[in-house]
């Protein structure tokens, strides 16, 4: 298994490199000139030219790319004349739109998105799987129909609707929670939880609905398998039959979905971050795209891609752990 992981990680570096090249090329293909964007009203050709130099856009694309790659390992210097400042390795560039080093912004945004994604993930997996199993156990009974009805509603609601309704009712109207105001958990755990609980719930409602449906259909399928009949014939209590024999067998597709959904969220939950004023990766990347901020776009794309690739690797390893018929080599 170890050489397999090494090979996959090697492949990841290749993919990320290609992706960064593609991002650079795509960015260059946009008709908008970023140098014009920061030039303002009294823009003159000289100012645009000065701006282009400042943004590094006067260089050929491949030089920009090599500089960018180099800075990751050795850092680089921005500014000019007596006003220069260093961007230390790993330097992912300087965002002139935000007035900040990209590495610093990623470092600030990443934990927020990770907390958001993981918290929601735990919630939706627990609720989605439990209610899915419960619905499957009560297949054809009223409990099943109620759960599936609720799940259908939850699944149909757009996340911005859930988020806004929660925020406006729970916070603005009923004052049950203070306004979202993100602080790191180590700074103020209570405020952290007060801020994160609604975003977690908003995301979890959407995903839990999906995982309820997924778990239910998986359970219905595996509970009709012959080996489940065997397990019952052995005299195992029903709870053991469902949990140990049924659930584990139905786990593979759930793990696949969960891995990819979590990875997707770690790349940034744009709408949720926007509604709850969480300055995470999603806001960072959308802001970068609308402002033609190349270094930030590239960095956020790479971070998101890394999550997806790593998640795929982990999912594949979990497959092997769950299903002995799958062997990694």
């Amino acid at each position: 298994m170890f050489p397999y992981i090494i090979r996959r990680l090697g492949l990841m570096v290749v993919m990320l490199t290609l992706l960064s090249i593609v991002t650079f090329l795509l960015f260059n293909a946009v008709p908008t000139d970023p140098a014009m964007l920061t030039c303002g009203k009294s823009c003159t050709p000289e100012l645009v030219a000065a701006n282009r130099i400042r943004l590094g856009l006067d260089q050929p694309l491949y030089v920009q790319y090599i500089d960018w790659i180099k800075a990751i390992f050795v850092g680089r210097t921005y500014g000019s004349g007596t006003q220069t400042f260093p961007c230390n390795a790993p330097c992912l560039g300087y965002s002139f739109r935000n007035g900040e080093e990209v590495t610093v912004m990623i470092k600030a945004a990443l934990p927020i998105t990770i907390y958001l994604a993981l918290g929601a993930f735990v919630l939706w997996m627990v609720f989605g799987i439990l209610s899915g199993i419960y619905a499957a156990k009560h297949h054809t009974e009223w409990q099943d129909r109620v759960i599936m009805g609720v799940a259908l509603v939850g699944y149909s609601l757009p996340v911005f609707f859930i988020g806004l309704v929660l925020l406006i009712f729970v916070v603005v109207r009923l004052h049950l929670l203070p306004y979202p105001d993100y602080v790191a958990p180590q700074t103020n755990p209570v405020q952290f939880l007060q801020t994160m609980i609604l975003p977690w719930i908003s995301l979890a409602i959407l995903y839990a609905a999906y995982y309820t449906r997924l778990t239910r259909s998986q359970m219905l399928e595996t509970l009709s398998e012959d080996y489940i009949r065997t397990a019952r014939a052995k005299g195992l209590p029903e709870s053991v039959v469902v949990r140990k024999h049924g659930f584990r067998a139905g786990l593979t597709p759930i793990v696949t979905s969960a891995g990819l959904d979590l990875a997707g969220l770690l790349g940034g939950a744009v709408i949720t971050e926007y509604i709850f004023s969480l300055p995470g990766l999603g806001r960072l990347s959308i802001g970068a795209v609308t402002e033609y901020d190349l270094p930030t776009i590239t960095a956020t794309v790479l971070v998101a891609a890394t999550f997806v690739i790593v998640a795929n690797l982990i999912v594949d390893m979990l497959y092997a752990a769950i299903d002995p018929r799958v062997r990694l080599s």
């Binding site: 908008t32 009294s42 050709p45 100012l47 004349g81 925020l167 004023s277 300055p279």
Partner: protein
């Protein structure tokens, strides 16, 4: 996303905007007396203040905010609800509103004694001089106005760039050029201009002419920790989260008659969703009764706010700094009767409805807006100037008559440039329909919003009519009419070059009697409409709501902003 950016570059609304300048002094007319203490909350969807660096700050609301709390400028506007009063200058960091000599080529200001930086060091003439010099470092100090470069008497190269590269890169010879143009003798600061300017003391309301101390300058990074000389200083600034201002104990109220500095703390909360901001201020609960938002009421709640009397004392519905118009390219439509026909045929009511109805603005009768102050007077455009009354829905019969009178056919098709957005698409469809009634064939030319002005400001690429928006940089029509309608202006989408008009504009610019000058601008405004250089559609308006504890809130004409310096909370 920074709202200020999109407004400034007009990406969404197909306007390029420019900005007004000026900062406020309150004493005169800031008649309401506020309560000391408390925290004023400012809620915004923006992720940061675009620029706090005074030389890079060029957004109306941000200028009003920063000048109200953090950086004092040589002169400032009066803090008043009344537009005419507000457009009057008062002294701030200078002891008076400046002295012109040499026919307006030399301007002198005396720096007030006793004004200190937040670390206790005095604000000196050299600090102002250094601050102004930063504008020249255009590869670092971006986004700000470049008046220092264009107006100061420093040699320029063939390509128009200054021989002075700014303080970061200048060698001794280059620095000498700047030192000759801006001089300090004790506390007396003198600017030597390349050509006369009668209103340079208005120009210096822009914070681009505010002091920065050399030893505190951090170039690109100065945005994040500006040194204050106003009544507040930055306690903490976390972009995307919040900016907290606390009292600056080095600020001496005796030196400052403009800033009553009522609240103890100012908290600027970033990254909030627009709907939530409006909902919160409507609900008016807890700290939100101490809150304002520069973002304006979201369109979906406008009806609710303006139909409910309980919001009556908390809402504002006033002109913003922008005029919306279609510049008519006089090179493509040279016959004045043809241009007048366009004005007569357009259905301005439908255009306003598409833009958002009554809340989008008032019908415009020119490009000079009432909130500029004394320079505005009604032009009579829609009553008499075109020879007959023109209702807001247009007068196609008059348009046809004007074309007939011209003695030549209209140069169809009329190519109309606009930045492609869904709203603008609808507006152009309306133009196509209304102008067709007069026999004018409109050919829409949608352009990518980010590159819009790059195209239409290039005479080779511009069509017959181009959508635009404009806000003056300071409260004088010298920042409007010359910019839009003379070859020396930076935004002459009308490509107008009329010797008589140019001469009258030059004369008006040189007038030193402000009352006479205002009359001259009013007359020129009428002439520009008679010549049908543009189809003015709207004087833009903005709707705002503030918490019930906030006093002294109104729309301050010079910036179309809140009068930050005089706001207080109960």
């Amino acid at each position: 996303m920074k709202k200020s950016t999109s407004i400034r570059f007009g990406v969404g609304a197909a306007t390029v905007a420019m900005l007004l300048t000026a900062c406020g002094s309150s004493s005169g007319d800031g008649s309401t007396t506020g309560t000391k203490g408390g925290t004023l909350y400012i809620l915004t969807q923006g992720e940061q203040i675009l620029h706090l660096d005074p030389q890079r700050n060029y957004t109306g609301e941000d200028l009003a905010f920063a000048s109200g709390y953090l950086n004092r400028t040589l002169t400032q506007y009066t803090l008043s609800k009344d537009n005419a009063t507000a457009s009057k200058l008062v002294a701030d960091l200078a002891t008076d509103t400046g002295t012109a000599s040499d026919g307006g080529k030399t301007w002198a200001f005396t720096i007030r004694d006793g004004v200190k930086w937040e670390d206790g060091k005095p604000v000196t003439c050299d600090d102002v001089k250094y601050g102004v010099s930063r504008t020249f470092a255009s590869d670092i100090i971006t986004d700000g106005p470049s008046y220092a470069i264009s107006m100061l008497d420093i040699p320029k190269g063939a390509d128009g760039s200054s021989s002075y590269p700014g303080p970061y890169k200048a060698d001794a010879a280059a620095q000498a050029l700047y030192d000759a143009a801006v001089t300090c003798e004790g506390s007396k600061l003198t600017f030597h201009l390349a050509s006369p300017s009668s209103d340079f003391n208005y120009t210096v309301t822009l914070s681009a002419f505010a002091p920065v101390r050399k030893d505190a300058d951090t170039g690109e990074k100065y945005d994040d920790h500006v040194l204050s000389n106003g009544p507040y200083k930055i306690q903490s600034y976390v972009k995307k989260s919040k900016l907290v201002l606390v009292r600056n104990d080095q600020w001496d109220p005796a030196t400052d008659s403009l800033r009553p500095a009522y609240p103890d703390t100012i908290e600027y909360d970033f990254s909030l969703p627009a709907d939530v901001i409006t909902q919160r201020i409507m609900a008016d609960a807890g700290n939100d009764s101490n809150a304002i938002s520069p973002d304006g009421i979201v369109p979906t709640q406008l009806a609710a706010v303006f139909s409910d009397p309980k919001f009556e004392k908390r809402r504002l519905n006033d002109l913003d700094p922008y005029v919306r118009y279609y510049a008519i390219n006089t090179k493509k439509v040279p016959n004045v009767k043809h241009r007048q026909a366009i004005l007569a045929a357009a259905n301005r009511e439908e255009l306003r409805k598409i833009a958002g109805g009554i809340y989008a603005g008032d019908f415009a009768d020119g490009v000079v807006k009432p909130n500029i102050g004394v320079d505005y007077a009604p032009t009579g455009l829609w009553d008499t100037l075109l020879g007959d009354k023109v209702p807001v829905t247009g007068n196609p019969e008059l348009a046809k008559k004007l074309i007939a009178d011209s003695g030549e056919p209209f140069p169809n098709p009329l190519v109309v440039d606009y930045a492609k957005t869904p709203t603008n698409d609808k507006a152009i469809s309306s133009l196509v329909a209304s102008l067709a009634l007069a026999g004018i064939t409109v050919k829409p030319n949608p352009l990518e919003p980010g590159g819009y002005y790059g195209v239409v400001l290039d005479p080779a690429k511009q069509g017959g009519m181009s959508a635009g928006g404009w806000a003056p940089d300071w409260s004088n029509a010298s920042t409007v009419l010359p910019e839009l309608f003379t070859p020396s202006g930076g935004f002459n989408m009308s490509q107008y070059d009329d010797a008589a008009f140019n001469a009258e504009v030059a004369a008006a610019k040189a007038m030193t009697d402000r009352g006479e000058q205002a009359k001259a601008w009013q007359a020129l405004s009428v002439k520009s409409m008679q010549a049908a250089l543009a189809l003015p559609t709207r004087f833009g308006k903005e709707q705002r709501l503030q918490g019930s504890n906030v006093s002294g809130a109104y729309t301050w004409g010079p910036y179309g902003s809140y009068p930050y310096a005089t706001l207080s909370v109960k």
